[in-house]
């Protein structure tokens, strides 16, 4: 697939210092994202899956440069944006946007919907008041809201409607990349499907690239072109969606997939139940981060971090065993 590369991450790391004591000395580091290399193609949907705390949200925020990477390079449309200042980032801001998980927290409770949606236009464009209003009206209709919602406050909307407002806000500047941080996990199942369909149709219409963070493998299978599996800030496996579900390589991926409830009772697959808790990202295990819970761990897994290697075209994995 000779697709155009939209964004590229090279060994991106994001560590947060843990401060302790009277003098706020750095006592340790939480390795939220620990060396991720990745290519994001134009118009694709990349699903990012992992347990909570595995660094998938941090990765998404770092990709948008809402967080500054501790190490590594971050390219967007061929430009290195990993260490640009806030001012120098401004021209990139309208090309990459985010949709948030919590539709209640992601809108300013005191701001009318119309003003909230006009705000990106005020910051980034020279449109006058009427032009902005017209654009916002168009956005409202595009995401399935009504024109008269313009003057309402966030608390007058349901969760699904608020998520549509969040989507409209992300769309306002015609971005090419949207990071969706679990956009439907806070919604009712019936509303989830509506919002996912909306996301799909918007992608087709505007040629969007989605960085789709989720912990719902069912949603990911339905929506994504490729899937990235993360564990403790590191990438475990990356493959086209069909390949991953048919032929998972990493033991962690296998365990995750075996946890999907199956609608057909006869075709039972054995569930792999992982023992033990998720280790703290402040003290990740040496070697492969998964070795403490891996059913197939070997001695080498405890010592050396596995290489990120390609096992099939477009199918990469980090594991000693396979």
């Amino acid at each position: 697939m000779p697709e155009k590369v939209l964004a590229k991450l090279e060994n991106v790391k994001k560590y947060y210092p843990v401060r302790r004591g009277l003098l706020n000395r750095v006592a340790g580091q939480v390795k939220a994202v620990d060396g991720v290399s990745l290519v994001l193609h134009n118009r694709e949907t990349l699903g990012v899956v992992g347990e909570s705390g595995c660094g998938k949200s941090t990765l998404g925020r770092t990709l948008l440069r809402l967080e500054k990477p501790t190490e590594g390079r971050l390219y967007f449309n061929g430009t290195d944006i990993s260490s640009l200042s806030a001012r120098a980032l401004q021209p990139f801001r309208n090309k990459m946007q985010m949709i948030f998980q919590d539709p209640f927290a992601s809108l300013n409770p005191r701001q009318r919907i119309g003003d909230a949606l006009e705000e990106p236009l005020v910051i980034h464009t020279q449109l006058n008041r009427e032009e902005r209003r017209e654009r916002v009206m168009g956005l409202l209709e595009e995401v399935g809201l009504r024109r008269d919602h313009y003057d309402r406050l966030p608390h007058e909307f349901s969760g699904g409607q608020r998520q549509r407002i969040g989507i409209a806000r992300a769309l306002a500047l015609n971005p090419s990349l949207i990071v969706c941080d679990e956009p439907v996990s806070a919604l009712d199942v019936s509303v989830q499907a509506q919002v996912l369909k909306l996301l799909q149709s918007l992608q087709e219409k505007h040629g969007l690239t989605y960085f789709f963070i989720s912990h719902d493998l069912g949603v990911v299978r339905h929506l994504c072109d490729r899937v990235l599996i993360m564990y403790l800030g590191q990438t475990m496996e990356l493959a086209p969606v069909k390949e991953l579900y048919k032929n998972p390589v990493h033991p962690y991926t296998e365990a995750l997939l075996s946890a999907i409830p199956r609608p057909v009772p006869g075709r039972k697959r054995e569930r792999i139940i992982l023992s033990g808790d998720l280790p703290s990202p402040a003290k990740p295990p040496k070697g492969c981060p998964f070795h403490t819970r891996c059913p197939e761990a070997m001695t080498v897994c405890k010592e050396i971090r596995p290489e990120w290697k390609e096992v099939a075209p477009g199918h990469q994995v980090a594991c000693h065993v396979r």
Binding site: M98, S106, N108, P120, L145, E156, R164, G166
Partner: protein
């Protein structure tokens, strides 16, 4: 595709809409009125405002003109229903004009204090690197007893009502900064701030247009309560001779002047004392009522 959207073509919402909420201001007002004590406070403050605004219309004598022929009249005397002081000045006129002074002093010192405190609180809450420094300065200011700090400032600047305003407002800054900082800290990590950063909103825009409007409730409550303290401090400083100078009809100064006549004409101290007490009480109970009415827990999401 249109069928999947939230609103069907007939305009019937598919998703359950939340019921129309009453206007926030109106509902707050209703909750305040329901609180009896707060209502009493509101009435007293209303009376003070009327006295302050219409002072020349509701008094017959100039508060500063001496008339030794009618000095030290007790309340209920003909022409002077609240009596007169040791120079024969009408007590009612002096109380009414005193209401004007105490209101102006309270509002101006609280407004100045709020401007400073809100600015510091926003900065300290928003910028982590400034937080430590600013909050240590605030701690330092807290270590001084308030009235002592005010006296120190007046000693440096000289005795006048303007300097009293400056002293009281400086002394209001630290507690206001603390309150605002707390609200900012809790708001800063909400997703809508992250969303604003992702659309490239500047820090100033986020602070003034988005964080500040969301922490008005604690600021309003603080401001109301602070009015009581400011009015009381103005009178205290004037009582000590550091604020209003004679013949200014300031309530605290009036009590100070009446001290020498405590036994012969107690009304000269008691009446301004009651005035101070009522006003301070009113602002305190109104502040309490506002705090209950603006409680975020009573707000629906």
């Amino acid at each position: 595709m249109a069928m999947d959207t939230a609103v069907s073509t007939g305009g019937v919402p598919v998703e359950a809409p939340s019921p129309e909420q009453p206007k926030r201001l109106a509902s707050t007002w209703k909750r305040v009125i329901k609180n009896r004590l707060a209502l009493v406070g509101l009435i007293i403050i209303g009376m003070q405002v009327i006295m302050a605004v219409f002072a020349p219309l509701i008094t017959t004598y100039d508060p500063a003109v001496l008339d030794l022929s009618v000095k030290e009249l007790p309340p209920g005397s003909k022409g002077h229903w609240l009596g007169t002081d040791e120079y024969g000045r009408d007590m009612w006129s002096r109380i009414v004009y005193g209401a004007r002074i105490s209101l102006v002093m309270g509002i101006s010192s609280v407004a100045l204090g709020l401007i400073g405190g809100v600015a510091l609180g926003l900065l300290a809450g928003y910028y982590r690197w400034l937080d430590g420094l600013l909050m240590r300065v605030v701690d330092l200011m807290f270590a001084f007893p308030g009235i002592l700090l005010a006296m120190l400032i007046i000693a440096m600047l000289g005795t006048s009502l303007v300097n009293v305003v400056i002293a009281i407002s400086i002394w209001s800054i630290p507690s206001c900064a603390r309150i605002v900082r707390g609200s900012v800290l809790s708001l800063k990590n909400r997703e809508f701030v992250m969303a604003l950063r992702s659309i490239g909103a500047s820090d100033i825009r986020i602070m003034l247009k988005h964080i500040l409007p969301n922490c008005t409730a604690p600021i309003i409550v603080f401001g109301t309560m602070r009015m009581a303290t400011a009015i009381l401090s103005t009178s205290a400083l004037s009582f000590l001779g550091l604020g209003a100078q004679p013949p200014t009809p300031e309530w605290g100064a009036m009590i100070a002047a009446g001290r020498d006549f405590m036994w012969t004409s107690p009304h000269m101290t008691v009446i301004p004392g009651i005035a101070i007490m009522l006003v301070v009480f009113a602002f305190n109970v109104l502040g309490d009522g506002l705090r209950d009415a603006l409680d975020p827990n009573m707000e629906t999401r």
